[in-house]
């Protein structure tokens, strides 16, 4: 079965430090991979996507993600965390039928 996995339920990082939110995938073919962020009582906001091309993808709010085919990973990164980055982050994949499936989420807390 195809899926994405987010191995960490919670990530804590100090403000100003680099952050990483992990995602691994088990998707056949050439996967379309996404990162979304969710703030309390809000819908999900699109951050970035990988479809093809450069393995390093840059997105909104200074976030980036690296597609690593050999490790089947698509980790989300940011060089310097802000308190306002504290939120719930979801990795997702898309199939050829435009279906969009999400991981279980990682709660990021940036400590002032």
């Amino acid at each position: 079965a195809q899926s994405v996995a987010q191995p960490e339920d919670q990530v804590n990082v100090a403000e100003g430090n680099p952050l990483t939110v992990k995602c691994t995938y088990s998707v056949s073919g050439n996967p379309y991979l996404f990162w979304y962020v969710q703030y309390p009582n809000r819908g999900l906001q699109f951050l970035l996507k990988y479809i093809t091309g450069d393995n390093l993808v840059k997105g909104s709010y200074g976030f980036e993600a690296e597609f690593n085919k050999s490790q089947t990973s698509f980790h989300l990164k940011k060089p310097s965390a802000l308190v306002s980055d504290s939120a719930l982050y979801f990795c997702a994949y898309q199939t050829g039928a435009n279906n969009l499936f999400f991981g279980t989420g990682t709660r990021l807390t940036v400590i002032p």
Partner: protein, 115 residues
């Protein structure tokens, strides 16, 4: 900036009652999704439309849930009768069928509480 509109934002209903949610996608988006999100978990796809046709409703509890998108634009998700376990956030999203610009855009959601 174009947005996905959902209403109501909050709904409290008694179990066994009927409840309905409405979604208006971004203009021109052919694909429309309904998701259910239980607090602290990832969104679970309930139904996906391509224009007015259902593409995937394999996770939709069809004995009590129904969804329609009659003119291929806005959509309604209905629950009848509601059960306590249906308490969750219901999210609507839409996307273009363009394979390059395929990311989904989400509405603010409807938080349902069944009492």
């Amino acid at each position: 900036e174009a947005e996905v509109a959902q209403s109501p934002r909050y709904k409290i209903t008694e179990k066994s009652q009927a409840v309905a949610f409405w979604c208006d996608p971004i203009s021109g988006h052919a694909t429309l999704y309904w998701y259910r999100q239980i607090l602290g978990q990832g969104p679970e796809l309930l139904v996906q439309f391509q224009d007015e046709s259902v593409v995937d409703d394999s996770q939709l509890p069809k004995d009590r849930f129904s969804a329609e998108r009659l003119k291929g634009v806005d959509s309604t998700l209905k629950i009848q009768p509601a059960e306590l376990g249906d308490s969750a956030m219901y999210l609507c999203a839409s996307s273009s069928w363009d394979p390059i610009n395929t990311e989904a855009f989400f509405g603010q959601g409807t938080r349902l509480t069944v009492v």
